[in-house]
């Protein structure tokens, strides 16, 4: 049975009609749907947050993937910032984005190294929410409860995206995976910092404005290059969108329409740019040469 399309504007409107704060309405809705209570939902999100923290910790130790293609960038970045940047100049990203990038890289590298992660919404994009949330906690003193509530907001945004478009690279390209994760994280950040439902929607929209058309072109079909760095790029897009939205800049295109645009763009991407490793970076000379050697190696 096909589910009816969800809409952020409609959900926000329903919360207002019932005179409920957005988070209460979203919790109520999920609790009813899952036949449980609000406390259980938050407890489960807390468990997810814990796995995210562990993934970041694991990644920060400098893990390498089985293929050997990736690993260690989070650690390298951390050491560089500490040893060089802090002594000689301002870090280019600033504290919040800087940490978010580092933690996103760590979690994405943990994923590539067969670590335990939370697909949010997918494994390929599993660095984005942890990167953003852990950085917000560290630099903006967000209490844990607010973080778990923000995961509920992120989850519902993801539900809307999944119902109107897709969260899978094979269907919609990287804009559907990392783009969606960034949009979800942007909504989470706006929520954490006290933004309105409209501002949450605007942040979602602004992410897609900047990530529309992003292709899925993984080298050798692995979830490594360029996936790990795309997780890093996505957190910057997330924070940009959140800041603009909180500043009241707003988005000309409302969230639901931006999501629909992402859907249409995704469908127009050729198959070669939708997780088939048949286009983009995956078919560069360097990628091809590496992939050829890699497949020879693993097939013995």
């Amino acid at each position: 049975m096909k589910q009816d399309k969800l809409a952020w504007a409609k959900l926000a409107g329903e919360a207002e009609e019932k005179n409920l704060p957005l988070i209460e309405y979203l919790l109520e809705r999920s609790a009813a749907q899952l036949e449980t209570d609000k406390a259980s939902i938050l407890a489960r999100m807390d468990d997810a947050l814990q796995v995210m923290e562990e993934a970041v910790t694991f990644g920060m130790t400098g893990v390498k993937s089985n293929s050997g293609l990736t690993g260690g960038s989070a650690k390298a970045l951390n050491e560089y910032i500490k040893a060089t940047v802090n002594k000689e100049r301002q870090d280019l990203l600033g504290p919040v984005a800087g940490s978010a990038v580092m933690y996103a890289l760590a979690a994405a590298e943990a994923n590539a190294a067969m670590g335990r992660i939370v697909a949010a919404p997918t494994a390929g994009a599993s660095g984005i929410l942890p990167g953003v949330l852990l950085s917000m906690r560290e630099h903006c003193n967000i209490p844990r409860e607010k973080l778990t509530e923000s995961l509920v907001v992120a989850g519902v945004i993801g539900e809307v995206i999944a119902s109107r478009a897709s969260i899978a690279g094979a269907t919609g390209g990287c804009q559907a995976e990392c783009g969606s994760a960034a949009a979800m994280a942007a909504g989470a950040v706006v929520y954490m910092l006290g933004g309105s439902s409209k501002q949450i929607g605007d942040a979602v929209s602004i992410v897609f404005k900047n990530m529309l058309g992003l292709v899925c072109d993984p080298v050798a079909g692995l979830v490594e290059v360029p996936c790990i760095k795309r997780n890093a790029g996505s957190v910057v897009q997330c924070l940009l969108a959140a800041e603009l939205s909180l500043a009241g800049v707003g988005s000309f295109i409302p969230a639901d329409e931006a999501i629909d645009a992402m859907d249409k763009v995704g469908r127009s991407l050729p198959q070669g740019l939708r997780e088939t490793a048949e286009g983009g970076l995956a078919v560069t000379p360097t990628a091809r040469a590496w992939a050829e050697k890699y497949f020879k190696r693993i097939h013995g």
Binding site: A48, A120, T122, V156
Partner: protein, 221 residues
Amino acid sequence: MNIFDIIGPVMIGPSSSHTAGACRLGLLAAGILGERPRKAEIVLHGSFARTYKGHGTDRALIAGLMGWQPDDTRIPDALLLADEAGMEFSFIPGDLGSKAHPNSVLFRLTGENGNTCEVTGASVGGGQIMVTGVDGFPVELTGMLPALFVPHRDEPGVIALVSTILAQKQINIASMRVFREGKGETASMVIECDQPVPPEVVHSLEELGPVRLVRFVDRVS
């Protein structure tokens, strides 16, 4: 779909379809066999055939056959651990036909007492799976609900007999598909239920004259 389909699942990386989905396929296949297999021949098709070693798919498939969940931290060591546990397994790249999904698998499983089954399925994306064949019968099992697989003689009244027993035991049928090889030949019912089906109910079903065999498969997380 709910928020925990979005913020979740907790899984071993790197890929929802190549790792988590593969693990769930293994779990469902072992569930259909009814026990941890002693021997597993695994035919891989399409994208799975090309990528299984590097993407951890082989480890994830074996992990599922071992009965482990998709977030089990032993998954990276599944091949070694399965070997130590005495499981005999092999991976064979093959062609499961042009209609098969790019991430398709055919499991040929043998249990401790020689019990066998053949399960075909695919990892269809986002960790979701679809088992499309059991012992040559077409089925559509997602593993999201407990399910019964009931091959039987094609004759009037069998569906009524089966559904009556389930009704008596307060087991609600969520979906039912019936197939047959030919009129009067072997047919099968695939019944997804809202509740798990206890062994004594499976036994009652097996005692029905026209029923050949009953497999109960619990949902995979």
